[in-house]
Amino acid sequence: MSDTHAGEVLTTQDGKPLKVALAKALRREKLRALALIAPLLIFVLLTFVAPIVDMLFRSVENGIVEETLPKTVVALQEWDPTSGTVPDEAVFVALYDDMAVAVEEKTHTRLGSRLNYEASGISSLFRKTGRGIKRMDEAGPFKEQFIDLDKDWGTVETWQVLKRFSPRYTPGYFLNAFDAQQTANGIELKPEDERIYMYLFGRTLFLSVAITVSCLLLGYPIAYLLSALPLRSSNLLMILVLLPFWTSLLVRTSAWKVLLQQQGVINDFLVWTGIISDAGRLVMINNQTGTIIAMTHILLPFMILPLYSVMKTISPSYVRAAKSLGANDWTAFWRVYFPQTIPGIGAGAVLVFILSIGYYITPELVGGTSGIFISNRIAYHISSSLNWGLGAALGTLLLVAVLVLFVVYDKIVGIDNVKLG
């Protein structure tokens, strides 16, 4: 073997450059690693990522108008929505052709319920037109016949809505989620008595912060106790922490109802002891107080467990050393012990906050009207009003809000500074 000269390429025994061979070997290794995680990756992609992306996509998707009324959409391109007049005969001819097909395929009512989200009354307009279309004179003229059938075809507003929502993609759902709407004069906020979503987002954030803070205040001393007590008693305490964790969510929420209601256990006790009068029973449920109390209880273990696992690793000798150097109890705690628990606080707070921001069932049961979250409205739009587009838009906003907060958290506290154990 001779010395390697500068500029001469290192090769393996079979003459390939060493760099290439190494890269090849590494690539093989990576592929093998990928193959190992492939089942999980595919599973997650198919059952988690794909459905979410599909659902989020619905927040802008609006192909239904073009698919149901293709000719009308084309014919409407010529029409100026600000002209103040109803489109001319050509558009009505196209509408007749489209509606005849749509009635045959029974898709017109579906379009009606879609457009009804934007303007009340369109649902019955399409249902009525569907019933009447067969009786129309095929020779035309159609404009009068449609307006005869339902005078709404003769109003500019109906056509403005149809034109505004004819593109395949619409910002309409997102505007709705921001309490705004598209009108003939552009985008503007909805009337005050219809604004709700921004308010609910604000409330969701506020209550989630309140729940996180109260979980921290209650959980910190318990976690400390858990880590400081001798094994036997700390195990017992641990079981007490975990026991509610294993109990059904509904059972725990209902139990709070029994405890907190006006004729409930706590109020009865307070009246019995004379602290409050019978007429002055406290209202602790079906409002924000109820939501905060019940959710703090339900999410408490998610705060205690990460705190405990971090505190367990903190050696008691640090505090002892601080004290021997002259620190009083408070200084030793605040300057020495507390900073070491910050990773646990971070982990617990992120867990509790993210869980509570998307919480649904507990606010629904004990929140009344002032304690419900944005997720309750999302659930309503998915399962009751069937306005999936709006539900998806609200869901997307919630997801974005959480991601933004996560980034902010990373900037302030640092995500490396989070420890689950």
């Binding site: 395929e105 029974k106 898709t107 009512t109 579906r110 009606g112 319920s113 009804n116 989200y117 009340s120 009354g121 369109i122 649902s123 019955s124 249902r127 008595d193 219809e194 604004r195 709700i196 308010y199 609910l200 409330r203 209601q261 006006q262 004729q263 409930g264 079906n286 629904e364 009344g368 009207t369 002032s370 419900i372 409205r377 998915i382 399962s383 009751s384 009003s385 069937l386 306005n387």
Partner: protein, 366 residues
Amino acid sequence: MKLKTVILAGTALAFAGSTAMAKDMTIVSWGGAYQASQKAAYADPYVAENPDINVIWDESSNEAVAKLRAMNEAGNITWDLVDVVASDAIRLCDEGLALEIDPDTDLADAPDGTKASEDFGDLLVSECFIPQIVYSTTFGYRSDVAEWNGKEPDDICDVFDLETFPGKRSLEKRPINNMEWALLCDGVPKEEVYNVLETEEGQDRAFKKLDSIKDNVVWWSAGAETPQLLADKEVVIGSTYNGRLFSLIEEQDQPVKMLWDAQVFDLDGWIIPAGLPEDRLAMVKDFVKYATDTQRLADQAKYISYGPARKSSAPLVGKHADLGIEMAPHMPTDPNNAKNTFLYNYEWWADYRDDIDAKFQAWLAQ
């Protein structure tokens, strides 16, 4: 060795038997006492006559519309028959998710030969809807409230009268029914209610009326909540479905009475999902024809206090299966209870639901 053969043969037989003979039929309903009444009145006798049918119950009716839409998009309909309220049936029909039926060929005639379309009459509110029962949303009140000085509410507007009848009320957390009651008690004549509610001023008027009791209202979202709240003395008057109040009063013996005034009638019935394969469709149609005949609908009233949807069933309603009390006086359709009723306008709400609901929720959140 011998034992093993026997076991193997037995398993094979049982397996062959279950696949070759039993046909599964998935019926979706509301669970609880209502589903139990359907099982006792329709499904059990039907299976006794058709032992090859195996009925599977699913309790998803309250989210049936969303689930059917999802199934339809996935192209895999796993339900054979779904119990829904009339407004949901109309929506499912609008979306093309429910099968249109012909009452006269798909449903049984009355015993006297009256065609089904005539026997059900106006209750066939949608081409896809096969009515079963008439129920009502109405009020129940506690009969032992000391502050009322012996008075008892007998008028819908007593719900809005906090001076004579102090105490908390429970109302459903949605605009439907509440808006109508508010307008009725604000002096709007019954036949004008929907015309008034169509206008901005009318809606404001309803909200203003509701504002007068807002601080004293507990809002419910599940039908079981009001009976519980009444039993716990959390509220003194509350709206819910009349069958729930029946079981609170008669089965659980609570000091609660019915306030039938201005009860709102609504319908519940079957829809057949669109897109079922031929063999399953034939099976379901056979069951539906049986389960909605005059006798079967009358039988259901033995188990729950909802009125049968057929005119011809009314005279056949008998006594409660366990309590032995006459059921007719507990029906929402009984003449004594139905002195003043309100008819829920499906088509109107289909148009205005999205808009008014947004306003209602904003009003609640204020």
